[in-house]
Symmetry: D3
C-alpha cells in the first residue's frame, strides 16, 4: 500500500483513529447535511457467553490501513461512497456497563434522533441486544410496521427471555415483533444454523410470518436464489429496510472474534457481495453490525477488518443506488 | 443467545463442563440403555509435530454456549438427537502420558466394552493414533472385516512405522489393515493432499483396495459425487461403518488448532453437511474426531467448536436414520 | 504423520530448519546445476501498516512437519519436484533494516545472479517492495519487456509514491512499468478488491495496458475463466512469466498473518490449484511470495504454512511441465 | 510431577474440573459439616474497562495440574488444608449477565446462607462489584460493624457512583461503609497506586477512618511492617476479618490477566506469604479473590494459577490457625 | 474503577484515544502556554530484531482505563501533574516507514521546535534510534554539551554502525557523543546486562567518560546507591537532564512487549520510583520512552501500560519539583 | 542493538538458527577439543500436564538477537565464555515421540559419550524426565555417587511412579537415587513450593539425606544464605556438580512458558546471578535446563530468552573459574 490519495498528508495509520475511515466527526445534535451517521454502541452486557463486544466500535474503526481522509474509492466501481452519501461519525454512545435497560434507552433515543435528522444510522455494536433499540429508533421515525428487517445471523435471536429478563442478545427480534416496531412478516433471516432455538420457538416464528433461511437451505438452493426471495419479501409493502448483520453469520474461520461462534457459515466474500446488493436494490434506512468481540479475534484482528468492510460495502451499495437515482 | 430451553436452570456456561452438551454422565460399566457413548481419549504422545491434543476432549466438550441440559434441537430438522439416541458421556479414559502401547490397550478395551453394551462409541481424541485401538475395539464386536471405515483427513496415515515403532499418528490405517480389523477394500479416504506419503505407499494402498480421494479430485469432480461413490463403496458388503474424522481435513483457516496443518482443505460447511449425510445413509457403529490441538487454536478456540458440531451433526444424521426406521 | 521416507534419519522437525524442505544449501556464487533457487528477502521496512514480514522467510521454511530431506512427493501426481527441478536454498540475503534502497540493490543483484546462473529464483519475501528488485533482476537476464508478470494480490501496488519516495510496498508495479522491466501490457492482476487505489490510478493502469481482475469479477465469471484469459494474455508475445503472489490475495480467514488484510479473497484451495496450473502451462522464470507477517499469524502459523505450500505447488507445476517436455 | 497421591485413580487433569482442587461438591442447601465453602460468582458486567471475569471461577478452578482428589499438602508445612478445614465447592451462582442488581442479590443471599451454615465462604469472582454483596452476606451473619475488611488492591474502590449508578467494580467499599456492613475504621487497604481516585475521595476515606497503604509507602517502610500494623488494626475491636483480594494488587507482570492493570504492584511471592500469615493470625470469616480476566491472561493462564494458589495459601493459614487451636 | 472525576461525561474508555490521558491536543506550531508536550515517534525501521514499535505511541496512549479528561491525580501525592505542568499532546510525527534519515530529520526538527517553544518534549517512541534526533533537538536549544543524559537500558546502544550505516537502534548514544550534543561524561547508564557490546566498545565508552551501571552492580550495591551517584554525576556541570528510558531495562516478565528482551532487569516498581525521583531532583528538559513493541505484548498489553505510567511518574516528579519551586 | 562484532557478516537473526549462539556445530562422534557441548533433548512425552517442551531446544537457541557468530562477551566481566570454553553444539538427539524408555536410552548414551570425550554436556530439555538419563550419563563417566546435583525447581520430582510407570517428569530424582547415580545426600534442591509431593515423600527424601530449600525458607533466610549452604553441601565429598534447572523455579510472571507453573518463585535476576556463582565456585561437569514450553510462552517468548541466558550465565561462571585456574 502507498499513497496516491488526494489527502496524503493524513497518511499515518499507526495512531489512534478519530472516526470511521476518517469521515468528519459530528455530535448528535449537529447532523445537518449528514446522509449517513456512523455511531458506536459499546455494549456487551447482554452477552450470554463471551463478552468483549464493548471494544468492537473502536476495533472496527481501526481495522483499516488507509489514510484518515474519508476517501475510500471502491475498486470495482470507483465510487467513494463516503463522499456520495455525506457520511459522518458521531463516536460512541455513553452507555452504562452492566445496566441493560438504561443503555437501551440511550441507543433508541440516539438512533431516533439520527433518523429524524434525515440520515441513515449505521450502528457499530455491541452485542445483538442493540438491535432492539436500534431498529426501534428507526421505526419511530419511519413508522412502526413500515420497515422490513433483513437479519444475517447464525441464530434467530427470538428467545422469549434473557434468563427471565426481557433484554439480552438472544431476544431482540422477539421484542421488536412484540412492540410492533417490526412485525414478523417483515423479517427475513439468512444463515441460521446450529442447535438453538428449539422447535416451539421456530413454530412461533412461523406464526409471526418470519421467513428464515438456514445454511442447509442455502447450501442446497444457492445463496443468490435465497437473496432474490429476500429482496422480493422485503420490498413487499415495506417502504424501507433495516439491515442487521451479526458477524457470526460468517464462518468462524473467517470471523473468529465473536461471542457465540457457530461453525459452517457464509464466506466473507458471500456476505460482502450480498450486503452491497441489498443496499443497492432496496431502500436501506438503518443498519447495524454486531457481535464482533476483539479479545477473541487473535493478533490479526481479521473479524474487525471484515466488519469494517461490511459497512463500506453497504455504503457502496447505497451510493450506487443514489447515483442511479433510486434513493 | 438466550433461554427458551426446558432446562433453563442449567443455563450457565461459564463454569466447567460436566459432559458433552450436558448429557448424562455414566461409567464404562454402567451403560444400560445408552445408545451412543461419548468418550475422551486425551492422547497426544503419538504426535510427530505439535502436541496438545491431550486437551482436546475437554476443549471439544466446552466449545459450547448453550445450557448443560442435553438439549440440542437441530435447527434445520428440529430433532434433538441427544434424546432420540440416548447419548451419554463416560468422561476421559485413564491413559498414561508417554506410554503409547499401554494407552492403546486401554482405548481398545474401553471402546470394545461400549460397543459390546450395544452402544455406538464416539471418541473425542487425541491424536490419530487412537483410531487404531478405536476401530479395533468396534471391530472386535461387529466382526473383523465387517466394518467399513470412512476416513476424512489431509493425510493417508498409512505409514509403515513411527520412527521404527508400530504405533503413532501416521500409521493407524496400516495397522488396521494388517490386523484385519478393517481390510483395505473397506477404506474410503476423503480429503488427501500435500506431500506425504510417497508413491510406494500409495501403491501399497492401492494394492490393498483402498479408495482415496484427493482434494484435487474433489475440486474437479465435486464433493457430492465423491460422497455418492463413498456411500456405495462403504455399503458394499459391510454391515456397518466407522467414521474417522481428522480435523485437518478442513482447511487450516477454519481449523487452525491442529498439529499438522495442511492448507487447501474442505470448508467446515462441506464437512458438516457430509458427515450428517453419511450418518443418515449408512449404519454408523463408531466414530472418532481427532487431532484438535487447543494450544494452537487461538483465543476463539474455533477448531474445538467445529469438532463439537461435527459430533452433533453425526448424531443428527444417526437420529434422522433412526426416526426413519433404518437403524 | 510418520516415516516411510528414504531419508528417515532426518525425521525430526522440532529443530531449526536449515533450508526449504531440507533441500541442499548453496551460496550465491555456487549455483552450478541448480534448477530452482530459494532465496529469502527478510525485508519489511517498506510496509505502510503492520511490519513483521522480515521473519517470513524463516517462518515459511519452518511451516513444515516433514523431514528435512528434500523429499516432497506430491500426493495427486507422485512427483517430487524438489528432485526433478534440482531445487537449492541460498538462505537469506544480507539486507539492512531501515535502508530501503540499499536493500533493493542487494535483492536485484542477487536475483539477477541466480537467473544468470540459469536457475529460476523463488523469493520468500518480505513485503511487496521486494518484487521491484526481484522482477528487475529476472528481467535483466531474460530481457526487459520479455517477461509477463502474473500478480495475485488484493491491491494493485501501482501507487505513485511511498510517502513521497519511490520505493515501498505499494509502488513496485508502477516502478517496474516505468523502468520498462515489465511493461504494463505484460501484467495480469488477480484478486483486486477493497478501496485502494482510486480511479485515477486505475485509469493510468488501463492506459498502460494492464489487465486487472477484481474479486467481484471473479465471483461473477468464475476463477477458471479468468485464469484461462490470464494464460492467453501472459503467453501473448512474452517468452516467460514471473509469478508474484501477495498472500493477502487469499481471504484473511485463511491467511490472517499479513500486514494489510483485505476481507473477501480467494480460498487457499483456489490459489493452490491456480498457481500449479499456471506453472504447468507457462514458462515460469521467477516467482515470489510476499507479505506473510508471522507476528500477526496466531499460534497455528497457518499463513506461513499456506505460503510454504504455494511454493511447493508452483514447483510441482514446473516439474509437471518439465516432465512433459515443455520446459 | 507424578503421582504418590492416595487418590491416584483421579490423576487426570486434562478433563473438565468438577470442583476446586477436587473437593466434594455440595449445593447451597446442603452444607452440613462444611467448614469452608468455595463459590463462584461469574460476574463481569460491573467492569468499566475490560470484561472477562465471568470466566474466572472456571479458570481459577482449572489452574491446577494435580489430581482432582482434594489433596493439596502444603510443601512448607505438610498440612492438607482442604481436609483440615472440610472444604467443599458449591459451583457457580446463577447470575444474570447484564443485570447488576439482581445478580448482587443472588450473591448476598447465597453468601449469607453459607455463613449462616457456620462455614467460611470463599468467593471466586467476578469483578470487584461482588465484594459488596459478598461482605454484606457475611456481615448479616457476623454482625454489621463486627467484621474488619483487609483489602488488597491497586485501587481504593471507593468511588461515589458507577456512571451515576450505585453498583459497579469501583464502588463496593463505599457501599459497604454507607450500609454499615463494614464501617470505615474497619478497613485496611494494601497496595494502592496509580491515579485514581482523586484527593477528595481520599479525604472522604480518611474521614471514614480507613487505613490505606500505597505501594510507595510499602516500598519505603517494607511490607512486613505494614502488615504488622494491619493485623493490629484489624484485630482492634473486630471479631473477625474478611479478606478481599483484587488480583491487580500484584504487578501486571505476574498477573497480566486482569481488567484494569496498574504497573508497580506486589510480587506474587509477597502476596502469597502475606495472605497466609493473615489467615493464620486473624479469624477469617470470609474471603474473595476478584478481577481475574482469562481472555487477557495469555496462553499460560498464569493469573488464574496465582489466584488458585492465593486461595490455597489462605486455606493453609486458616488450617495452621485451627491446628494451633485458635479458631 | 468508577467515576468521581470532574469530567465524568468523558468517562468512556472503549473508544479511540485522542491524546495522552485526554490532555488538550495541539499542533507543533501552536504550543503557547504548553509546559510539556507529548509527541509520538512511530518509528521501528531502525530495529535489528523484532519490529512493531511503530504502534507504540498509539498503544501507550491507550494503555489507560480512566477518562479522557486530562485528570490523573497521583495516589501518593494527590497532584494532577497534567494540570500543574500544562501538558499537551501533538499526536504522532509524519515519519516515513523505511527511510531512516528522513525520519530522523523530522524528529530532530520537531523536538527542537517544542524545546524552543519553552516546553519539555516527552517522546513516545519508536525504537531507540529516535533518541539521537530527540536528544539532538533538545541540545540544539539547551546547548550542545549542557544536557546530561540518564539512560535506562539493558543495552549500551553505543555501537559503531548499524550494519555499516550510521543510524539504527544500537548506535544513538555514540552518534550523540560524536556530534557533541551529549558528551560522554554527561552520560549515566543504568541497567546494562547481557552480552553486547564487547570489551572494545566498553573501553571506548570509558574513554568518553560514560558512567555505566550493570544489573550485577545494582544487585550488589543497591539501586538507591546507584541512583544517588547518578544524580550527583548528572548534576555536575550540566544545566539540565534528558531521560531516555528503553523499556527493556525492565525485566521481560514485566515488559514482554519489546524487540530485544534481555532477562534479569529492574522491576517495574523500581523503575517507576526511580524516574519520579530523578524528575523531582533534577531539571528534566526532555525525555523519551522507547522500544515498546505491541505485537509482542500479549493480550494484556502490560508493557504499554507500564510505559504509560513511566510517563506519568516522570510528570509527577516534575510537578513535585515545580510545586517545590525548583523548576 | 547494532554491530561492532568481529563477525558482522553473520549479523542476521531473522533466519533459522544453526546452533546455540552460532557456536560451531559438531556431531557426537567428533568432539575433539570441545570443552562444552550443547545438546537438545526435544522430549515432552513425560509431561503430566501441558506438553510443548519438545520445541524448547529450538526456541532456546533462537531466543537471541545477536549474530550467529559464537561471540557473547559478558557485559559485567567482558569474557566471551563460548571461546574460553570451546563450546560446540551437536543439535538435537533423535528421540522417539511417545516412547519414553527408548528416548531415555538415547539421551543417557549420548550424554555419556560427551562426558567421556572430556567435555561438559549442557542439555536443552525437554521435560524434566530427561534429567534421569542426563545425570546418569554424566555419572557413568565421573562415577556413581561422585557427583552432587544442585536442583532448581518448584517441585521435588521425587515421585514414586509416573502413573504406575518408572519414568516421567515427576520421578527423575527418585530414579537417580535408586540407581545410585546420585545418592540422596548429594542433592540440594532450591525453590520448592506449592502442594506436591506430600509429607510421606518428603519424609523419604529426608531419609535419603536430601537438602531441600523451600521458597518460604528462602524468603525468610535470604537466597544468598541458602546458596552459601548449598555450595558447602555440594562440595562436601563430591568431585563435581551437575546443575539441573527447571525453569519453573522462576516465578510464572517471568517464566510463563512452562508446563506446570507454580506461582511465587525466584526472580529471573536471582536465578541468573545464582547459577553464575555456582558455576564459578564449583566444578560443574554437566547441566540441563528443562520444562520450557514454547506454545505457552506468548508472543514475546520470554521464557525461552531466560533459558538461553541461564545457559550463558552458567558458561560465564565456568569461564571465570577456568580463567582463575580452578577448573
Amino acid at each position: 500500500m502507498a499513497d496516491g490519495s488526494p489527502a496524503s498528508s493524513k497518511h499515518h495509520v499507526f495512531s489512534s483513529w478519530p472516526s470511521f475511515a476518517g469521515v468528519p466527526t459530528r455530535s448528535l445534535d449537529d447532523l445537518e447535511d449528514a446522509g449517513v451517521v456512523i455511531v458506536g454502541a459499546p455494549f456487551d452486557w447482554g452477552t450470554t457467553n463471551r463478552a468483549g463486544a464493548r471494544f468492537a466500535p473502536k476495533a472496527i474503526r481501526e481495522a483499516d490501513y488507509l489514510g484518515t481522509d474519508g476517501w475510500r474509492p471502491h475498486v470495482p466501481t470507483g465510487i467513494n461512497a463516503l463522499d456520495v452519501l455525506s457520511v459522518v461519525d458521531v463516536g460512541d454512545l455513553p452507555l452504562i456497563p452492566g445496566y441493560v435497560e438504561e443503555s437501551i434507552d440511550v441507543i433508541a433515543d440516539s438512533v431516533e434522533s439520527i433518523a429524524r435528522a434525515g440520515a441513515v444510522p449505521i450502528t457499530l455494536g455491541g452485542d445483538h441486544t442493540v438491535t432492539f433499540p436500534d431498529a426501534t429508533g428507526v421505526a419511530r421515525v419511519h413508522g412502526f410496521g413500515n420497515v422490513a428487517l433483513i437479519h444475517f445471523d447464525a441464530h434467530a435471536d427470538t428467545g422469549e427471555t434473557h434468563f427471565g429478563h426481557l433484554y439480552g442478545h438472544g431476544t431482540p427480534m422477539r421484542r421488536l415483533i412484540e412492540s410492533g416496531a417490526v412485525p414478523g412478516n417483515r423479517f427475513v433471516q439468512i444463515g441460521l444454523r446450529g442447535y438453538w432455538p428449539g422447535p416451539e420457538v421456530f413454530a412461533w416464528m412461523k406464526e409471526q410470518g418470519m421467513r428464515s433461511y438456514t445454511m442447509s437451505e442455502i447450501s442446497e438452493r444457492g445463496l443468490n436464489t435465497v437473496v432474490d426471495e429476500a429482496v422480493v419479501h422485503a420490498a413487499d409493502g415495506a417502504d424501507a429496510v433495516f439491515l442487521s448483520i451479526d458477524i457470526d453469520v460468517v464462518d468462524p474461520g473467517m470471523a473468529p472474534g465473536t461471542g457465540t461462534p457457530e461453525p459452517g457459515g457464509l464466506t466473507s466474500r458471500q456476505l460482502l457481495d450480498t450486503v452491497r446488493r441489498l443496499a443497492k436494490d432496496l431502500n436501506v434506512v438503518g443498519a447495524d453490525i454486531v457481535e464482533v468481540s476483539p479479545p477473541y479475534d487473535g493478533p490479526g484482528q481479521i473479524t474487525a477488518y471484515l466488519a469494517n468492510r461490511i459497512v463500506l460495502e453497504i455504503l457502496n451499495g447505497m451510493a450506487e443506488r443514489k447515483i442511479a437515482g433510486n434513493s
